[in-house]
Amino acid sequence: MGQWSAAVMIRLKELISDLQDFYLLSFRGVLNIFKRPFYLKDTIEQMDYAGAGSFFIIFIVSLFVGMALSLQLSAELSRLGMKVYTGKVVGISVIRELGPVVAALVFTGRVGAGMASELGLMVLGHQVDTLRVFGVDPVKKLVTPRIVSSIIMLPALTIIGDAVSLFGGYYIAVFVSNQSGALYWSSIREELIFENVFSGAIKPFVFGYLIACICCYTGLSTKGGATGLRQSTTKAVVMSIIMIIVSDFVLTRILLYVLGFSV
Protein backbone atom coordinates (compact mmCIF):
# COMPACT_ATOMS: atom_id res chain seq x y z
CA MET A 1 0.00 0.00 0.00
CA GLY A 2 2.84 2.34 0.98
CA GLN A 3 4.73 1.54 -2.22
CA TRP A 4 1.59 2.04 -4.27
CA SER A 5 0.87 5.47 -2.78
CA ALA A 6 4.53 6.47 -3.22
CA ALA A 7 4.33 5.48 -6.89
CA VAL A 8 1.13 7.51 -7.30
CA MET A 9 2.76 10.52 -5.65
CA ILE A 10 5.79 10.28 -7.95
CA ARG A 11 3.52 10.04 -11.01
CA LEU A 12 1.44 12.99 -9.77
CA LYS A 13 4.55 15.10 -9.25
CA GLU A 14 5.77 14.21 -12.75
CA LEU A 15 2.39 15.17 -14.20
CA ILE A 16 2.36 18.54 -12.43
CA SER A 17 5.96 19.17 -13.47
CA ASP A 18 5.10 18.23 -17.10
CA LEU A 19 2.12 20.59 -17.07
CA GLN A 20 4.21 23.40 -15.65
CA ASP A 21 6.90 22.86 -18.31
CA PHE A 22 4.24 22.73 -21.04
CA TYR A 23 2.66 26.02 -19.94
CA LEU A 24 6.07 27.66 -19.67
CA LEU A 25 7.05 26.51 -23.16
CA SER A 26 3.72 27.65 -24.63
CA PHE A 27 4.07 31.04 -22.96
CA ARG A 28 7.72 31.55 -23.88
CA GLY A 29 7.06 30.36 -27.44
CA VAL A 30 4.61 33.22 -27.95
CA LEU A 31 6.56 35.81 -25.95
CA ASN A 32 9.63 35.18 -28.13
CA ILE A 33 7.72 36.39 -31.21
CA PHE A 34 8.31 39.91 -29.94
CA LYS A 35 11.97 39.42 -28.96
CA ARG A 36 15.10 39.62 -31.06
CA PRO A 37 16.60 37.80 -32.91
CA PHE A 38 13.74 37.02 -35.29
CA TYR A 39 14.33 33.72 -37.05
CA LEU A 40 12.53 34.77 -40.21
CA LYS A 41 14.20 32.20 -42.46
CA ASP A 42 13.27 29.36 -40.09
CA THR A 43 9.69 30.67 -39.87
CA ILE A 44 9.34 30.84 -43.66
CA GLU A 45 10.77 27.31 -43.99
CA GLN A 46 8.24 26.06 -41.45
CA MET A 47 5.41 27.90 -43.20
CA ASP A 48 6.39 26.30 -46.48
CA TYR A 49 6.47 22.85 -44.88
CA ALA A 50 3.21 23.35 -42.98
CA GLY A 51 1.30 25.27 -45.62
CA ALA A 52 2.39 24.38 -49.14
CA GLY A 53 3.25 20.85 -48.05
CA SER A 54 -0.21 20.25 -46.57
CA PHE A 55 -2.22 21.85 -49.36
CA PHE A 56 -2.82 18.73 -51.44
CA ILE A 57 -3.86 16.49 -48.54
CA ILE A 58 -6.22 19.18 -47.14
CA PHE A 59 -7.66 19.59 -50.64
CA ILE A 60 -8.41 15.88 -51.04
CA VAL A 61 -9.77 15.35 -47.53
CA SER A 62 -11.95 18.48 -47.61
CA LEU A 63 -13.33 17.63 -51.05
CA PHE A 64 -14.50 14.21 -49.95
CA VAL A 65 -15.80 15.44 -46.60
CA GLY A 66 -17.92 18.04 -48.44
CA MET A 67 -19.15 15.44 -50.93
CA ALA A 68 -20.02 12.88 -48.25
CA LEU A 69 -21.79 15.50 -46.16
CA SER A 70 -23.81 16.73 -49.12
CA LEU A 71 -24.68 13.15 -50.08
CA GLN A 72 -25.90 12.29 -46.58
CA LEU A 73 -27.90 15.49 -46.26
CA SER A 74 -29.44 15.22 -49.73
CA ALA A 75 -30.64 11.69 -48.96
CA GLU A 76 -32.08 12.60 -45.57
CA LEU A 77 -33.53 15.99 -46.48
CA SER A 78 -35.18 14.71 -49.69
CA ARG A 79 -36.97 12.08 -47.54
CA LEU A 80 -38.37 14.97 -45.50
CA GLY A 81 -39.09 17.04 -48.59
CA MET A 82 -36.51 19.68 -47.59
CA LYS A 83 -33.81 19.06 -50.22
CA VAL A 84 -33.56 22.80 -50.86
CA TYR A 85 -31.90 23.21 -47.48
CA THR A 86 -28.89 21.07 -48.46
CA GLY A 87 -26.71 24.09 -49.27
CA LYS A 88 -27.70 25.85 -46.08
CA VAL A 89 -26.85 22.89 -43.82
CA VAL A 90 -23.65 22.06 -45.72
CA GLY A 91 -22.61 25.71 -45.42
CA ILE A 92 -23.21 25.98 -41.69
CA SER A 93 -21.61 22.58 -40.95
CA VAL A 94 -18.51 23.24 -43.01
CA ILE A 95 -17.90 26.87 -42.10
CA ARG A 96 -18.64 26.66 -38.40
CA GLU A 97 -17.58 23.16 -37.46
CA LEU A 98 -16.28 20.58 -39.93
CA GLY A 99 -13.89 22.78 -41.91
CA PRO A 100 -11.76 23.93 -38.95
CA VAL A 101 -11.80 20.53 -37.22
CA VAL A 102 -10.99 18.47 -40.33
CA ALA A 103 -8.18 20.84 -41.32
CA ALA A 104 -6.77 20.73 -37.77
CA LEU A 105 -6.87 16.92 -37.64
CA VAL A 106 -5.13 16.61 -41.00
CA PHE A 107 -2.61 19.26 -39.93
CA THR A 108 -1.89 17.28 -36.76
CA GLY A 109 -1.29 14.07 -38.70
CA ARG A 110 1.06 15.64 -41.17
CA VAL A 111 2.68 18.72 -39.60
CA GLY A 112 2.31 17.97 -35.87
CA ALA A 113 3.75 14.48 -36.15
CA GLY A 114 6.59 15.91 -38.24
CA MET A 115 7.35 18.57 -35.62
CA ALA A 116 7.42 16.05 -32.77
CA SER A 117 9.62 13.54 -34.58
CA GLU A 118 12.01 16.17 -35.94
CA LEU A 119 12.51 17.83 -32.56
CA GLY A 120 12.72 14.42 -30.87
CA LEU A 121 15.47 13.37 -33.24
CA MET A 122 17.29 16.65 -32.60
CA VAL A 123 17.13 15.97 -28.86
CA LEU A 124 18.44 12.42 -29.23
CA GLY A 125 21.19 13.55 -31.62
CA HIS A 126 22.33 16.25 -29.12
CA GLN A 127 21.47 18.98 -31.64
CA VAL A 128 19.29 20.77 -29.08
CA ASP A 129 22.11 20.59 -26.51
CA THR A 130 24.45 21.96 -29.18
CA LEU A 131 22.17 24.97 -29.62
CA ARG A 132 22.30 25.57 -25.87
CA VAL A 133 26.09 25.20 -25.88
CA PHE A 134 26.22 27.90 -28.56
CA GLY A 135 24.03 30.14 -26.41
CA VAL A 136 20.99 29.84 -28.68
CA ASP A 137 17.61 29.49 -26.97
CA PRO A 138 16.05 26.29 -28.41
CA VAL A 139 12.54 27.59 -27.67
CA LYS A 140 13.19 30.72 -29.69
CA LYS A 141 14.99 28.95 -32.53
CA LEU A 142 12.82 25.84 -32.79
CA VAL A 143 9.46 26.38 -31.10
CA THR A 144 8.56 29.98 -31.94
CA PRO A 145 8.89 29.57 -35.74
CA ARG A 146 6.66 26.47 -35.55
CA ILE A 147 4.03 28.27 -33.47
CA VAL A 148 4.02 31.24 -35.86
CA SER A 149 3.83 29.04 -38.94
CA SER A 150 0.96 26.99 -37.47
CA ILE A 151 -1.00 30.08 -36.38
CA ILE A 152 -0.68 31.54 -39.89
CA MET A 153 -0.95 28.45 -42.08
CA LEU A 154 -3.74 26.49 -40.38
CA PRO A 155 -6.30 29.31 -40.80
CA ALA A 156 -5.20 29.71 -44.44
CA LEU A 157 -5.55 25.97 -45.03
CA THR A 158 -8.93 25.99 -43.27
CA ILE A 159 -10.25 28.68 -45.64
CA ILE A 160 -9.05 26.66 -48.63
CA GLY A 161 -10.50 23.47 -47.11
CA ASP A 162 -13.85 25.18 -46.49
CA ALA A 163 -14.04 26.38 -50.09
CA VAL A 164 -13.13 22.94 -51.44
CA SER A 165 -15.70 21.25 -49.18
CA LEU A 166 -18.42 23.61 -50.39
CA PHE A 167 -17.48 22.84 -54.00
CA GLY A 168 -17.60 19.12 -53.21
CA GLY A 169 -21.05 19.63 -51.70
CA TYR A 170 -22.10 21.60 -54.77
CA TYR A 171 -21.01 18.80 -57.11
CA ILE A 172 -23.14 16.23 -55.26
CA ALA A 173 -26.13 18.57 -54.79
CA VAL A 174 -26.24 19.56 -58.45
CA PHE A 175 -24.98 16.54 -60.39
CA VAL A 176 -26.12 13.69 -58.15
CA SER A 177 -29.09 15.08 -56.25
CA ASN A 178 -30.31 17.22 -59.19
CA GLN A 179 -30.71 20.39 -57.17
CA SER A 180 -30.39 23.93 -58.47
CA GLY A 181 -26.81 25.21 -58.35
CA ALA A 182 -27.97 28.80 -57.97
CA LEU A 183 -30.13 27.85 -55.01
CA TYR A 184 -27.24 25.93 -53.41
CA TRP A 185 -24.90 28.94 -53.63
CA SER A 186 -27.53 31.48 -52.61
CA SER A 187 -28.39 29.48 -49.48
CA ILE A 188 -24.68 29.25 -48.62
CA ARG A 189 -24.28 33.01 -49.23
CA GLU A 190 -27.09 33.59 -46.75
CA GLU A 191 -25.07 31.76 -44.13
CA LEU A 192 -21.93 33.80 -44.70
CA ILE A 193 -22.88 36.18 -41.91
CA PHE A 194 -20.40 37.57 -39.37
CA GLU A 195 -21.43 35.18 -36.59
CA ASN A 196 -20.86 32.05 -38.70
CA VAL A 197 -17.66 33.23 -40.36
CA PHE A 198 -16.19 34.51 -37.08
CA SER A 199 -17.11 31.28 -35.33
CA GLY A 200 -15.26 29.23 -37.96
CA ALA A 201 -12.38 31.67 -38.36
CA ILE A 202 -11.31 31.91 -34.72
CA LYS A 203 -10.97 28.16 -34.20
CA PRO A 204 -8.01 27.48 -36.55
CA PHE A 205 -5.89 30.06 -34.72
CA VAL A 206 -6.50 28.28 -31.40
CA PHE A 207 -6.04 24.83 -32.94
CA GLY A 208 -2.81 25.89 -34.68
CA TYR A 209 -1.37 27.22 -31.44
CA LEU A 210 -2.37 24.10 -29.50
CA ILE A 211 -0.98 21.68 -32.11
CA ALA A 212 2.37 23.51 -32.32
CA CYS A 213 2.77 23.76 -28.52
CA ILE A 214 1.78 20.14 -27.82
CA CYS A 215 3.90 18.68 -30.61
CA CYS A 216 6.96 20.82 -29.85
CA TYR A 217 6.72 20.03 -26.15
CA THR A 218 6.44 16.28 -26.64
CA GLY A 219 9.20 16.37 -29.25
CA LEU A 220 11.56 18.25 -26.94
CA SER A 221 10.75 15.86 -24.08
CA THR A 222 11.83 12.80 -26.06
CA LYS A 223 13.94 10.31 -24.14
CA GLY A 224 15.27 6.85 -24.81
CA GLY A 225 16.19 6.26 -28.45
CA ALA A 226 13.95 4.96 -31.23
CA THR A 227 11.28 3.66 -28.85
CA GLY A 228 11.16 7.00 -27.06
CA LEU A 229 10.85 8.79 -30.39
CA ARG A 230 7.95 6.56 -31.40
CA GLN A 231 6.24 7.17 -28.06
CA SER A 232 6.67 10.93 -28.16
CA THR A 233 5.38 11.18 -31.75
CA THR A 234 2.35 9.04 -30.92
CA LYS A 235 1.73 11.04 -27.75
CA ALA A 236 1.96 14.32 -29.69
CA VAL A 237 -0.62 13.22 -32.24
CA VAL A 238 -3.02 11.66 -29.71
CA MET A 239 -2.84 14.62 -27.31
CA SER A 240 -3.32 17.09 -30.17
CA ILE A 241 -6.38 15.24 -31.48
CA ILE A 242 -7.93 15.10 -28.01
CA MET A 243 -7.22 18.77 -27.38
CA ILE A 244 -8.66 19.77 -30.77
CA ILE A 245 -11.92 17.97 -30.07
CA VAL A 246 -12.18 19.20 -26.47
CA SER A 247 -11.24 22.80 -27.30
CA ASP A 248 -13.65 22.71 -30.27
CA PHE A 249 -16.50 21.92 -27.90
CA VAL A 250 -15.42 24.58 -25.39
CA LEU A 251 -14.95 27.20 -28.12
CA THR A 252 -18.29 26.35 -29.71
CA ARG A 253 -20.03 26.75 -26.36
CA ILE A 254 -18.32 30.08 -25.68
CA LEU A 255 -18.85 31.42 -29.22
CA LEU A 256 -22.52 30.47 -29.29
CA TYR A 257 -22.97 32.32 -26.02
CA VAL A 258 -20.91 35.36 -27.03
CA LEU A 259 -22.48 35.63 -30.50
CA GLY A 260 -25.99 35.39 -29.08
CA PHE A 261 -27.12 32.05 -30.51
CA SER A 262 -29.81 30.37 -28.46
CA VAL A 263 -29.26 26.66 -27.81
Binding site: P37, L121, M122, G125, H126, Q127, D129, T130, R132, V133, F134, G135, V136, D137
Partner: protein
Protein backbone atom coordinates in the same frame (compact mmCIF):
# COMPACT_ATOMS: atom_id res chain seq x y z
CA UNK B 1 40.08 25.54 -13.59
CA UNK B 2 37.24 23.05 -13.18
CA UNK B 3 36.38 21.88 -9.68
CA UNK B 4 33.81 19.21 -8.83
CA UNK B 5 32.96 19.28 -5.12
CA UNK B 6 30.94 16.29 -3.89
CA UNK B 7 28.71 16.30 -6.97
CA UNK B 8 25.76 13.90 -7.12
CA UNK B 9 23.49 13.43 -10.10
CA UNK B 10 20.56 11.10 -10.84
CA UNK B 11 18.35 10.36 -13.81
CA UNK B 12 15.03 9.64 -12.11
CA UNK B 13 15.70 7.09 -9.39
CA UNK B 14 19.00 5.92 -10.91
CA UNK B 15 22.00 7.61 -9.38
CA UNK B 16 24.62 8.21 -12.07
CA UNK B 17 27.24 10.19 -10.17
CA UNK B 18 27.98 9.79 -6.46
CA UNK B 19 29.92 12.32 -4.40
CA UNK B 20 32.34 13.04 -7.22
CA UNK B 21 35.20 15.40 -6.39
CA UNK B 22 38.17 16.37 -8.57
CA UNK B 23 39.82 19.42 -10.07
CA UNK B 24 41.25 19.92 -13.53
CA UNK B 25 43.47 22.78 -14.70
CA UNK B 26 42.63 24.35 -18.05
CA UNK B 27 46.00 23.29 -19.55
CA UNK B 28 45.68 19.63 -18.55
CA UNK B 29 45.10 16.76 -20.96
CA UNK B 30 42.66 14.55 -19.14
CA UNK B 31 40.97 11.34 -20.20
CA UNK B 32 37.88 10.20 -18.33
CA UNK B 33 37.60 6.45 -18.69
CA UNK B 34 34.89 4.01 -17.74
CA UNK B 35 32.33 1.63 -19.11
CA UNK B 36 29.07 2.58 -20.79
CA UNK B 37 26.57 4.27 -18.48
CA UNK B 38 29.16 5.15 -15.84
CA UNK B 39 28.41 8.88 -16.10
CA UNK B 40 31.31 9.98 -18.34
CA UNK B 41 29.21 12.07 -20.73
CA UNK B 42 27.16 13.34 -17.76
CA UNK B 43 30.35 14.96 -16.42
CA UNK B 44 30.78 16.95 -19.66
CA UNK B 45 27.13 18.03 -19.55
CA UNK B 46 27.54 19.11 -15.93
CA UNK B 47 30.62 21.16 -16.79
CA UNK B 48 28.66 22.93 -19.55
CA UNK B 49 25.65 23.51 -17.29
CA UNK B 50 23.39 21.51 -19.63
CA UNK B 51 22.16 19.58 -16.59
CA UNK B 52 22.17 20.57 -12.95
CA UNK B 53 23.55 18.36 -10.17
CA UNK B 54 21.27 17.11 -7.39
CA UNK B 55 23.84 18.28 -4.86
CA UNK B 56 27.42 19.50 -4.68
CA UNK B 57 29.22 22.36 -6.41
CA UNK B 58 30.72 22.75 -9.86
CA UNK B 59 33.18 25.63 -9.89
CA UNK B 60 34.53 27.01 -13.16
CA UNK B 61 37.29 29.61 -12.82
CA UNK B 62 36.26 30.31 -9.23
CA UNK B 63 32.54 30.66 -9.97
CA UNK B 64 29.92 28.17 -8.83
CA UNK B 65 27.79 27.50 -11.92
CA UNK B 66 25.17 25.29 -10.31
CA UNK B 67 22.72 28.11 -9.60
CA UNK B 68 23.25 30.02 -12.85
CA UNK B 69 20.45 30.68 -15.35
CA UNK B 70 20.67 29.79 -19.07
CA UNK B 71 21.64 33.39 -19.91
CA UNK B 72 24.34 33.49 -17.25
CA UNK B 73 25.68 30.12 -18.37
CA UNK B 74 26.36 31.39 -21.88
CA UNK B 75 29.56 33.10 -20.71
CA UNK B 76 30.70 29.87 -19.01
CA UNK B 77 29.91 27.78 -22.08
CA UNK B 78 31.97 30.07 -24.30
CA UNK B 79 35.06 29.00 -22.33
CA UNK B 80 34.73 25.46 -23.66
CA UNK B 81 34.46 23.81 -26.99
CA UNK B 82 32.29 20.72 -26.66
CA UNK B 83 32.29 18.10 -29.39
CA UNK B 84 29.45 15.64 -28.92
CA UNK B 85 29.63 11.97 -29.74
CA UNK B 86 28.95 11.52 -33.48
CA UNK B 87 29.24 15.26 -34.06
CA UNK B 88 25.66 16.44 -33.50
CA UNK B 89 25.68 18.41 -36.76
CA UNK B 90 22.41 20.11 -37.72
CA UNK B 91 20.83 17.76 -40.29
CA UNK B 92 19.08 20.48 -42.24
CA UNK B 93 22.27 22.50 -42.85
CA UNK B 94 25.22 21.61 -45.05
CA UNK B 95 28.79 21.56 -43.74
CA UNK B 96 29.40 25.23 -44.56
CA UNK B 97 26.17 26.33 -42.89
CA UNK B 98 26.91 24.18 -39.85
CA UNK B 99 30.34 25.75 -39.36
CA UNK B 100 28.97 29.23 -40.14
CA UNK B 101 26.10 28.83 -37.66
CA UNK B 102 27.64 30.83 -34.80
CA UNK B 103 29.28 33.31 -37.16
CA UNK B 104 25.84 34.19 -38.56
CA UNK B 105 24.27 34.16 -35.11
CA UNK B 106 26.73 36.37 -33.27
CA UNK B 107 28.84 38.34 -35.74
CA UNK B 108 28.13 40.89 -38.45
CA UNK B 109 30.55 39.25 -40.89
CA UNK B 110 29.79 39.55 -44.59
CA UNK B 111 29.15 36.47 -46.72
CA UNK B 112 32.70 36.67 -48.14
CA UNK B 113 34.21 36.89 -44.69
CA UNK B 114 32.11 33.96 -43.48
CA UNK B 115 33.11 31.95 -46.51
CA UNK B 116 36.82 32.65 -45.90
CA UNK B 117 36.56 31.84 -42.18
CA UNK B 118 34.68 28.59 -42.82
CA UNK B 119 37.23 27.49 -45.42
CA UNK B 120 40.06 28.26 -43.03
CA UNK B 121 38.47 26.24 -40.22
CA UNK B 122 37.64 23.33 -42.47
CA UNK B 123 41.22 23.38 -43.78
CA UNK B 124 42.47 23.22 -40.18
CA UNK B 125 40.51 20.03 -39.58
CA UNK B 126 41.24 18.65 -43.06
CA UNK B 127 37.76 18.56 -44.64
CA UNK B 128 37.73 21.68 -46.83
CA UNK B 129 36.61 19.58 -49.81
CA UNK B 130 33.36 18.66 -47.99
CA UNK B 131 32.13 22.23 -47.64
CA UNK B 132 28.93 21.72 -49.62
CA UNK B 133 28.19 18.21 -48.32
CA UNK B 134 25.12 17.50 -46.21
CA UNK B 135 25.76 15.77 -42.85
CA UNK B 136 24.33 12.45 -44.09
CA UNK B 137 26.98 12.40 -46.84
CA UNK B 138 29.85 12.53 -44.34
CA UNK B 139 31.73 9.59 -42.85
CA UNK B 140 31.99 9.22 -39.06
CA UNK B 141 35.46 10.78 -38.98
CA UNK B 142 34.40 13.71 -41.15
CA UNK B 143 31.41 14.29 -38.86
CA UNK B 144 33.69 14.73 -35.86
CA UNK B 145 36.06 16.99 -37.82
CA UNK B 146 33.27 19.26 -39.01
CA UNK B 147 31.89 19.33 -35.48
CA UNK B 148 35.33 20.40 -34.18
CA UNK B 149 35.50 23.13 -36.86
CA UNK B 150 32.02 24.32 -35.89
CA UNK B 151 32.95 24.52 -32.23
CA UNK B 152 36.10 26.47 -33.13
CA UNK B 153 33.96 28.97 -35.04
CA UNK B 154 31.76 29.43 -31.98
CA UNK B 155 34.44 30.71 -29.64
CA UNK B 156 38.11 30.84 -28.72
CA UNK B 157 37.92 28.09 -26.10
CA UNK B 158 39.94 27.84 -22.94
CA UNK B 159 39.57 24.07 -23.09
CA UNK B 160 38.20 21.38 -25.39
CA UNK B 161 35.70 18.76 -24.26
CA UNK B 162 35.42 15.65 -26.43
CA UNK B 163 32.67 13.09 -25.94
CA UNK B 164 33.79 9.71 -27.33
CA UNK B 165 35.55 11.34 -30.31
CA UNK B 166 36.87 8.08 -31.71
CA UNK B 167 34.01 5.69 -30.99
CA UNK B 168 32.72 3.88 -34.04
CA UNK B 169 35.70 4.95 -36.16
CA UNK B 170 38.15 2.70 -37.97
CA UNK B 171 41.76 2.76 -36.62
CA UNK B 172 42.99 5.14 -39.35
CA UNK B 173 40.23 7.68 -38.75
CA UNK B 174 40.57 7.29 -34.97
CA UNK B 175 44.30 7.98 -35.29
CA UNK B 176 43.61 11.07 -37.41
CA UNK B 177 41.17 12.40 -34.83
CA UNK B 178 43.72 11.80 -32.05
CA UNK B 179 46.34 13.73 -34.07
CA UNK B 180 43.86 16.56 -34.57
CA UNK B 181 43.11 16.65 -30.83
CA UNK B 182 46.83 16.94 -30.08
CA UNK B 183 47.31 19.54 -32.82
CA UNK B 184 44.55 21.75 -31.39
CA UNK B 185 46.06 21.63 -27.91
CA UNK B 186 49.56 22.56 -29.12
CA UNK B 187 49.38 26.10 -27.77
CA UNK B 188 48.81 24.95 -24.21
CA UNK B 189 45.04 24.51 -24.35
CA UNK B 190 43.92 21.54 -22.35
CA UNK B 191 41.15 19.09 -23.02
CA UNK B 192 38.97 16.49 -21.39
CA UNK B 193 38.33 13.44 -23.51
CA UNK B 194 35.63 11.03 -22.46
CA UNK B 195 36.21 7.59 -23.88
CA UNK B 196 36.17 3.89 -23.20
CA UNK B 197 39.07 3.30 -25.62
CA UNK B 198 42.24 3.14 -23.54
CA UNK B 199 44.43 3.04 -26.65
CA UNK B 200 43.19 6.42 -27.81
CA UNK B 201 43.22 7.88 -24.32
CA UNK B 202 46.89 6.92 -23.86
CA UNK B 203 47.75 8.50 -27.20
CA UNK B 204 46.48 11.93 -26.24
CA UNK B 205 46.10 12.34 -22.47
CA UNK B 206 48.55 12.70 -19.61
CA UNK B 207 46.10 12.32 -16.73
CA UNK B 208 43.49 9.62 -16.38
CA UNK B 209 40.33 9.49 -14.32
CA UNK B 210 38.49 6.18 -14.07
CA UNK B 211 34.82 5.98 -13.11
CA UNK B 212 33.05 2.95 -11.75
CA UNK B 213 29.39 3.03 -10.67
CA UNK B 214 29.48 6.82 -10.74
CA UNK B 215 32.43 7.03 -8.38
CA UNK B 216 36.01 8.04 -9.02
CA UNK B 217 38.14 4.96 -8.47
CA UNK B 218 41.38 6.13 -10.10
CA UNK B 219 43.07 9.45 -10.78
CA UNK B 220 46.67 9.42 -11.99
CA UNK B 221 49.14 9.35 -14.89
CA UNK B 222 49.66 6.67 -17.53
CA UNK B 223 52.36 4.88 -15.54
CA UNK B 224 50.04 4.44 -12.56
CA UNK B 225 47.16 3.48 -14.82
CA UNK B 226 49.11 0.74 -16.56
CA UNK B 227 50.22 -0.70 -13.22
CA UNK B 228 46.92 -0.29 -11.42
CA UNK B 229 45.66 -3.33 -9.53
CA UNK B 230 42.00 -2.26 -9.79
CA UNK B 231 40.28 -5.18 -11.55
CA UNK B 232 38.09 -2.99 -13.80
CA UNK B 233 41.09 -0.99 -14.98
CA UNK B 234 42.97 -4.21 -15.68
CA UNK B 235 40.10 -5.34 -17.90
CA UNK B 236 40.32 -2.04 -19.78
CA UNK B 237 44.08 -2.31 -20.09
CA UNK B 238 43.84 -5.81 -21.48
CA UNK B 239 42.71 -4.05 -24.69
CA UNK B 240 46.31 -2.83 -24.97
CA UNK B 241 47.66 -6.36 -24.90
CA UNK B 242 45.51 -7.28 -27.89
CA UNK B 243 46.58 -4.10 -29.65
CA UNK B 244 50.22 -4.76 -28.77
CA UNK B 245 50.75 -1.27 -27.37
CA UNK B 246 51.33 -2.01 -23.70
CA UNK B 247 54.55 0.01 -23.73
CA UNK B 248 53.08 3.30 -24.89
Amino acid sequence: MIVFDKVCFSYGVRQIIKDLSFSINSDERVAILGGSGEGKTTILKLIMGLIKPDSGKIIIDGEDITGKTEDELREVRMKFSLVFQEGALFDSLNVKENVAFCLREYTKMTEDEIDRKVRELLRTVGVEHAMEFMPEELSGGMHRRVSIARSLAACEPMMFLYDEPTSGLDPVNADNICKLILELSKDGKGFIIVTHKVVDALRVASRFIFLKDGELVFDGDSEKLLHSDIPDIQVFISELNYAGVKNV
